[in-house]
Symmetry: C2
Amino acid sequence: MPDPAAILAVAIQEARLGLAEGGIPIGAAIFRADGTLLGSGHNRRVQHNDPSAHGETDAFRNAGRQRSYRDLIMVTTLAPCWYCSGLIRQFGFKTVIVGESRTFQGGIAWLKENGIAIQDLDNPECFQMMTGYIRQNPEVWNEDIGED
Amino acid sequence: MPDPAAILAVAIQEARLGLAEGGIPIGAAIFRADGTLLGSGHNRRVQHNDPSAHGETDAFRNAGRQRSYRDLIMVTTLAPCWYCSGLIRQFGFKTVIVGESRTFQGGIAWLKENGIAIQDLDNPECFQMMTGYIRQNPEVWNEDIGED
């Protein structure tokens, strides 16, 4: 298992990139247990007008086809929403590293109930990027999580 | 509410297209309550080497950004997996039309528990396309649903 803070740094880099592009600052990455990076990505709703590109789904896409996700690690700057939690459960990830879950809890309780190990690092930069973005762009954030 | 069989026909057309391309025959579409088609799509794992492109997520992407999904209808040839069920729940769809759920049940019981109306049309062509594909390509199907 790689150092959680070290792999979260890759997801944070993606979130910063998204923010610099004018997008929602959520990043994610997928690693092998030996620390090999398979793919990373970030939310691209604003940049690509693509509502399907959440941080986790973008990282999943960029990692390409994998025969099994059982021994892989998903790391994301924010607790995964139902969409991304469903991805984690369907594809059999067993380990998820979360940057923070204060601004949004998503499906982490449900993932734990289903036997998935969640490690929440409560990282201040993740929290600050999200709260700053939401304060300035509440309508984009609500759209991203399907809140009317 | 548009005629369920008529809107399922659009998803079936997408599934047939996917099959003709050599892919997994699952299609989906998103409609307004007045019958306007907003977007359709199909599984593109094989065609684009894209594990994130399930029928429902491809239709969701192609429909573009929407302010609300509450009054929209998701129609899919096969019961949505956890990934796609999570999408349906997160974005607040209230109505899902399913072509068949005999080969795969996915998250439909969970969606019903969460107040989402599911109408299962048990369509013979949907069932035949899936069973035929799975018989010939069991490893691709297992990869698509994260079965080791």
